[in-house]
């Protein structure tokens, strides 16, 4: 196989065509699964589309999932620009949620917008702090962040269970969760806005955190490509030797990149605590941290790519639950497998067809140029 001259590959081939081909393949394989399970794949696709777009609450759910995936996808992407594989989004989100709750409950005497502002800060600081320890170990001791962050997911989960059972549990209830935050602190939800316009809709978890996700996307874009920090992080990521030559400290940048990454993952806690549960419930990150890795890879670690990738996973989450509801042969776990296939094709097997596709287009363009 001839190697492709990267400079001749048009951007839309590597950034649009390749992901689309991978996605199509993943959907095809998923269709096979559904077919084997004894259901009609075409009907399943129709259900997914109906479930995620067909009615207003369904669409709101889609955007709610999208919000979470944007946060965790951005988190992974920032660290990845410094060539750090932050698998710890799950744990950082969990601890970030703790930050949100502690700030909100302890500063409830302040005006609500200020509490919100501080709670977002709490999410960032707690998430960043949880990422700081693996970052420090990587920078000074060379302990690989993949190992440490994944361990820190377990530590975070255990720590939170301990806190929720023994320290901050709502003692009037049986379940492992805290007391609810005062109602005025709850983030305005989508149905609140609809009600303002005089439209009455049923409950959905979508809330103004979605806007925060858009702000975070712009922030990441600006940070990575428009600031000295992003520039230095990318330099360390691409060529550590060269960074040292230019007087850029790898040590400092590993820590900065991981902390920003952890902070972004922590924002998931804002959506879940201020927007949805209004208290900490055990296990609220629910795998968003891991799926965020696939979102970032599919979105090529760029906010402009992460947004549609997150939206796609939102559709799958929401549409998937609709499918499992209506098709008795498709269990919830079947749909987890479908998501797995998509992660496989767009993440792990991302380069499976890339050379062929790029070759094809480069040759076509050459022919055109010669003709």
């Amino acid at each position: 196989m001839a190697t492709v001259d990267k400079s001749k590959v048009p951007w839309w081939v590597s950034n649009l065509i390749v992901p689309l081909v991978n996605l199509t393949l993943a959907l095809f394989v998923s269709g096979l699964f559904i077919f084997i399970a004894g259901e009609n794949p075409y009907e399943a696709v129709k259900l997914i589309i109906y479930g995620s777009f067909g009615y207003i609450e369904g669409f709101a759910y889609t955007l709610y999932y999208t919000t979470n995936f944007i946060f965790t996808g951005l988190a992974f992407a920032v660290a990845f620009h410094c060539r750090l594989f932050n698998i710890g989004g799950e744990g950082q989100a969990y601890i970030g949620g703790l930050g949100v709750f502690l700030v909100a409950i302890n500063f409830s005497f302040l005006p609500v917008p200020i509490v919100w502002f501080l709670a977002v800060g709490g999410a960032v600081v707690f998430g960043a702090a949880w990422a700081f320890i693996p970052a420090y170990l990587q920078a000074t001791r060379g302990s690989h962040v993949v190992i440490t962050t994944i361990m820190f997911n377990f530590i975070a989960a255990s720590l939170m269970v301990f806190l929720l059972v023994d320290v901050i549990r709502d003692t009037t209830q049986m379940g492992p969760h805290t007391v609810a935050l005062p109602k005025e602190q709850w983030f305005p939800s989508f149905e609140d806005f609809a009600a303002l316009l005089g439209i009455k809709i049923r409950y959905s978890p979508l809330n103004i955190s979605f806007l925060l996700a858009i702000v975070a996307s712009v922030f990441v874009w600006f940070l990575v490509w428009k600031t000295r920090w992003g520039y230095e992080m990318r330099a360390v990521g691409h060529n550590t030797q060269a960074a040292i030559y230019a007087g850029i400290s790898p040590y400092k940048n590993i820590i900065i990149a991981m902390c920003i990454s952890g902070g972004l993952a922590g924002l998931l806690g804002v959506n879940e605590i201020l927007g949805v549960h209004h208290k900490i419930v055990a296990g609220f990150p629910a795998g968003y941290g891991f799926t965020g890795i696939a979102v970032a890879l599919m979105g090529r670690n760029h906010p402009i790519g992460i947004f549609p990738a997150a939206f796609l996973f939102g559709i799958l989450y929401q549409g998937g639950s609709e499918v499992t509801f209506d098709m008795p042969n498709i269990t919830r776990y079947m749909f987890v497998a479908v998501q797995g296939v998509i992660i496989l094709f767009s993440g792990a097997l991302e380069n499976l067809f890339r050379p062929q596709i790029e070759n094809f287009f480069v040759n076509r363009l050459n022919l055109k140029a010669n003709a």
Partner: protein, 506 residues
Amino acid sequence: MVSPILELKNINKSFGHVHANKNINLTINKGTIHGIIGENGAGKSTLMSIVFGLYKANSGTIKVNGKEINLRSPKDSIVNGIGMVHQHFMLVENFTVLENIILGFEGELVFGKNFVKAKKDLKNLCDTYKLNIDLNSIISDLSVGFRQRVEILKSLYRGAEILILDEPTGVLTPQEVDELFKILRSLNEEGKTIVLITHKLIEIMDLTSQVSVMRQGEMVGHIKTKDTNKEQLAEMMVGRSVLLRLDKSEVKTGDVVFKVEDLTVKDDLDVTRVKNVNLEICAGEILGLAGVTGNGQTELLEALSGIRKVESGEIYLDGKKISDSQNFLNPRELKEKGLAHVPEDRQRMGLVTDFKAYENLIFGYHDQQPFSKSSILNNKDIISHSKTIMEEYDVRPQSPNLITSNFSGGNQQKIILSRELNEKPKVLLVGQPTRGVDIGAIEFIHQRLIDMRDRGAAILLVSVELDEVLSLSDRIAVMFDGKIVGEKENKNVTDRELGLLMAGVV
């Protein structure tokens, strides 16, 4: 009656535009120690890698014992009795000697009969050749000299009749070198053929019976060792190529701006690479530092530019101490003080090849005005600055948005050079400025360096290209084995004189 064991005919090998081996003919006789000598980049290692099946020649034939063979991989050459000990050892560090040697030749799934037999055979080999290796020791516990013996043993166990050693003494202490030579002699007495690749004349004179000299990809001569001497070999090695002539005005030196006192530097493996080096460079002069690669120039440059820690000694800039073993400035602080550095290895150190050209054109200066203000990059100014200097330094293509790896080697070098020279440094450290660069760019780069010198910069030029050192420098120092072994005004210095110094003869 001597019979040829290995014959090479018209071997050609190119890497891209570089013609590494041109029509090489070589005959090695059975039972001899044959030396192959040449400067860095003469094509010795490439040639031997072809013989060992690591590279495939573009054309030419290879015969072993008179039979033409087709080498597709090292496996083929091992079958044909060719063994190679590389400059960098190919050993699994956490395996024992025994495990390393049988690796790939285990011959059974569960270690048993073959394993025991291998152990016995190896014991015999060790005894025959007085290798004195404990088969059960872990590689990472062994010294470099012993690791090399393991490599030799590995080749012998696999049935090597021809043993190729690529710069075997580069990593050894003098005592280890003596031991190695003893082993090589005893191998030779037992009838093995040995090919020794080196750039050290002393080793050739000591050990070999035949010597072939390579220069710039060509074989320039075969000669019996006893019919020649070091001086003649040095001359053959360096050759008498036409110097690139430059318009160079008379040197007008100013005060000493850069001074190195008694500098000692260690490398990452804690080996002392730079030994008590003293240098002085005045404003408006170029000091050329000649020497064969691996004699401490890399570590010296890294220490001077703040990348590597100074073990002992002091460095002064403008009469002020900038570095010693306790306090040192980092590369960024040195840049602010007017010290620029063009590193030896542009892709490993000088550039982030995945970056766009404009990002590399500010690399290291990215935190200075007007490129960034309070941590935010000012892309408009960066791009317009990039366009200007790309035009000034004739970087082609002149597109600041192109990814750097898409530029040719010469243009990548111009990117680095334009970045470093544009800051008008007081002191400029330059390592291998024209390595792998086409002729046109070489002239351009040389002219720019001369311009810098005329503008009053103090320049340290480190190069393994003797021609380059001779045509650019006002003074020349030669580095060998971490020490400055000679320093001369660049008047009536011959390349032969320098060649002898570089080979550590005088």
